[in-house]
Amino acid sequence: MNTSRQIGSKVLYFLLTLLALLVIYAPIAWLFLASISTRADLLATPPRWIPEHPTLKNYLDILVPGTAVSEVARTFKITLGNSLLVALTTTVISLVIGSLAAYALARLRLPFRNTVFFGVLSVRMIPEISLVIPLYIIAARLSILNKPIVLILTYLSFALPFTIWMLTTFFETVPEELEDAALIDGSSRLNTLFRVVIPVAAPGIISTALFTFLLAWDEFFFALIFTSTVAAKTVPVAIAEFTGRYAVDITAMMTGGILAALPPVLLALIFQRFIVSGLSAGAVKG
C-alpha cells in the first residue's frame, strides 16, 4: 500500500469519526442548551444556537427550589431518589436470583435447560401493556400501589429473564477446569459459584448489572400507572409531568431530562470497559 493511499484513508476515517461524533453530540448539545436557556432564548426564530442569556436558573429551580416554582420541579429530587432506590434494588435482587439460575443452566447440564431457557424468554413476548391492568388489580388488593415495592417486583419480572439469559452466556465462558478443581477440593456447588465462577465472570456480571439498572431506570408506563405521589413516583413520570393541559414547560423538562440522564450515563461511562467485554462474550457465544 502506498503512503498517499494510507494517508488518504486515515483522513477519510478521521472525517467519518468527526461526523459520527457530531451526530452523537448535536442532539445532546441542543438538550443541554435548552436547559440553560431562558424561555425568551428558546422561542427565538431563527433559533439562537447559543443562548443570549445563559442561566443556571432552571437547574436551581429543580435542585434548590424556591417557592415560585411548580410542584413537579420541587419534588423532582425525590423522584430521582425513588428511581435510584427502585433501580438499585431491582438490579441487586435480579443479579442474586439470576446468578443462581444462570449457574444451574450453564453448568449443570440439565435436561430441561432449553425448555426453561426459552420459557423464561418467551414471557418477554407479551406486550407489557396487557399486564398492566391485572397487575394493577393484584397490587391494589395487596395494598402495595404507590409504594416502591410494587415497581421493584414488576421490574424484577421483566428483568430476570434478561438477566438469566445474559448471565448464563457469561458463565458458560468460564473454563470448566477451574470449577472442577474447586469441586474436587471439596467445595460445594454454591461455594464454587461464589468463590470461583463469579470472580472470573465479573466483567459479564457487571455489564449485566448495568443493563438491568438501565432497564429499571428507563421504565415509564408502569411507573405512570402504579405510582401517584412522591412516595414512589420515579423520574420518567416526573419528566412527563412538565406538560400541563396547554402549556409545556420546556426549559424545566429539558433540565429534568439532563438530570434524569446523568445517573445512567455516568454509570455507563464508568463501567464502559465491562460493557464492551460483556458484549464481546455475548456476541461471540451468542
Binding site: Y136, T229, E241, F242, R245, Y246, A247
Partner: protein, 432 residues
C-alpha cells in the same frame, strides 16, 4: 422428567398463592375515619398548597372523614381514572373530569348520578352553562369546578395604530384585519389553533355556534355538516387564502397561539384564560405586556347571537362504586362551595354567579392583578359558552373531525366533503 414436573408444580402453586392472596386481601380499613381519595390535576386552578389547605380545613371540620388528595398531569388523568375503575374498591373516590370525558364515563357507569342531591339554590346560583359540563342526558354527574372558555384577545397597540375599534362581529374583524395587513403592521393579523388536535375543534365550535349553527340537531343527529357548518369551514379556508389568518395556524395548538401573540405577531387570537396572565402581565414571557385586551368572542352577522365560544371546563365527580360516596360528595360540595371558592379565587374563578354582582364583584376584581380584566370578561362570556357533544364515542369521533378540519384546511377535500365524511363517522360510531 420428575424435576421438570416438580418445578412446574411449585411455580403454579405460588401463582395460585399470589392469586388467592390478592383475592382475599381486603384493603378496606375496618375502623377509623372513612378515607376519601381525591384525584386532581396539577396546574389547575389553585396551587397544590391551596388545594391541600382546603383538604386540611375539611378534615378538621369532619372528624369522621379523612380526605387524601393526589395530583397528576392532564395527560395522565384520563388513564389514571380509567385504571382506578378496575379495582374494588376503586382507587379514588373523587376525580377531576374533563368536559369531553363525561359522556364516556357516564356510559361506562363510573360516575355517581347526583342530580337529586343538588338543591334548587345551588342549581340556580351556579351558571347554567356550567351545568352543561357535568350533565349527560339531563342528569347531573358532578359539580362544575374549573370553568374555562376561549376568550377573544386583541393587541391594543396594533388596533390603535390602525385606527380600528374592537370588532364585535367576524365580518368586522375581517375588515379590521385587512386594514392592519395593508398598513403593514402585522403580516398575519389573526392566529388560530387549527392543528390536528382537540384545539381545532374548540375553535370550530366557537365559529359554528357563532354562525347560528349547532353540533347536533334536536334528534341528536349530526348538524355540524349542514350549510352553516360548511360556511364556517369555507370562511376559515378563505381567511388563510387571503393572508389574514396565519397559515401556520394549521399546525398550531394553544401554546403556539400564545407564543405568536406574545411576540406581537398577531392582532387577534382566541385562547383560554391562562394566556392572559402570561401575555398581559409577565415580561419574561411576553413582549406585549400592557397591550392586551379581552373582549367578547365575535359572532357572524345575522346569526342571532352576540357571541359564541367554546366551554372547556372540568368538574369534580364522585365514583359510583365508591364505598364512601356520601362522604365523598360532602367533600365535593365543600370544595366547590361559595365561601371556599371565594377565598381562593385569585387562582380560580368561582362558578357561583352571585360572586359576579355588586360588592362581591368588586372584591373579586381586586384579588389579583389580572382579575379586574378577566373577571368581567368571564362573566360576560360564560353565558355564550357551548360544550362539545356529550356522546360516549366522543374521543374516537373527535379524531375523525380533527382529520376532516385538517383536510379541508389543507385543501385535500372540500369543506362540505370533509364535514360529511366526519358526519358519516359519527353515524357509524353512534350505531355500534
Amino acid at each position: 422428567m420428575r424435576a421438570v414436573s416438580r418445578l412446574v408444580f411449585v411455580v403454579v402453586l405460588l401463582a395460585l398463592v399470589v392469586m388467592s392472596a390478592a383475592g382475599c386481601a381486603s384493603p378496606q380499613q375496618a375502623s377509623g375515619p372513612k378515607v376519601v381519595k381525591v384525584l386532581a390535576m396539577q396546574q389547575a386552578g389553585p396551587t397544590p398548597e391551596e388545594m391541600n389547605a382546603i383538604v386540611a380545613k375539611f378534615n378538621q371540620s369532619s372528624p369522621n372523614v379523612k380526605v387524601e388528595i393526589e395530583y397528576v398531569s392532564y395527560d395522565a388523568l384520563h388513564d389514571k381514572i380509567v385504571t382506578a375503575m378496575a379495582t374494588n374498591p376503586p382507587s379514588y373516590d373523587v376525580v377531576l373530569v374533563d368536559d369531553i370525558w363525561y359522556a364516556e364515563f357516564v356510559k361506562n357507569g363510573y360516575l355517581w348520578d347526583v342530580t337529586d342531591k343538588i338543591d334548587q339554590n345551588t342549581k340556580q346560583e351556579v351558571f347554567s352553562t356550567a351545568w352543561d359540563i357535568t350533565s349527560v342526558n339531563g342528569r347531573i354527574y358532578g359539580m362544575p369546578w374549573l370553568l374555562d372558555q376561549k376568550y377573544f384577545y386583541y393587541n391594543t397597540e396594533i388596533l390603535e395604530k390602525a385606527g380600528v375599534d374592537v370588532p364585535q362581529t367576524w365580518e368586522d374583524l375581517i375588515e379590521a384585519s385587512r386594514k392592519i395587513k395593508e398598513m403593514g403592521l402585522v403580516e398575519y393579523p389573526i392566529v388560530w389553533s387549527w392543528a390536528q388536535a382537540e384545539a381545532a375543534i374548540c375553535d370550530f365550535v366557537a365559529l359554528l355556534y357563532g354562525n347560528g349553527g349547532t353540533f347536533v340537531d334536536s334528534n341528536g343527529n349530526p348538524a355540524f355538516n349542514n350549510e352553516k357548518g360548511v360556511q364556517v369551514v369555507e370562511w376559515m379556508v378563505k381567511t388563510v387564502d387571503e393572508g389574514l389568518s396565519n397559515p401556520a395556524s394549521i399546525s398550531y395548538v394553544e401554546e403556539d397561539v400564545r407564543n405568536v401573540f406574545s411576540q406581537g405577531k398577531a392582532a387577534f387570537a382566541l385562547n383560554w384564560l391562562y394566556m392572559y396572565d402570561l401575555a398581559a402581565l409577565n415580561p419574561d414571557e411576553s413582549q406585549v405586556v400592557g397591550k392586551v385586551g379581552l373582549g367578547l368572542v365575535p359572532a357572524f352577522k345575522g346569526s342571532g347571537v352576540p357571541s359564541a365560544t367554546i366551554n372547556g371546563s372540568m368538574g369534580f365527580s364522585v365514583i359510583d362504586k365508591s364505598p364512601n360516596r356520601e362522604e365523598a360528595w360532602e367533600y365535593v360540595k365543600f370544595l366547590t362551595s361559595e365561601p371556599i371558592q371565594k377565598e381562593y379565587s385569585a387562582h380560580l374563578l368561582p362558578v357561583w354567579s352571585g360572586n359576579y354582582e355588586g360588592q362581591a364583584l368588586e372584591e373579586l376584581k381586586s384579588l389579583n392583578e389580572s382579575n379586574p380584566v378577566t373577571v368581567p370578561a368571564f362573566s360576560a362570556q360564560i353565558v355564550y359558552a357551548h360544550v362539545r357533544p356529550k356522546v360516549p364515542f366522543y374521543p374516537e369521533f373527535s379524531k375523525a373531525l380533527q382529520l376532516a378540519l385538517q383536510e379541508a384546511l389543507t385543501k385535500q377535500k372540500s369543506p362540505a366533503q370533509a364535514l360529511n365524511d366526519a358526519a358519516a363517522k359519527w353515524n357509524e360510531l353512534a350505531t355500534k
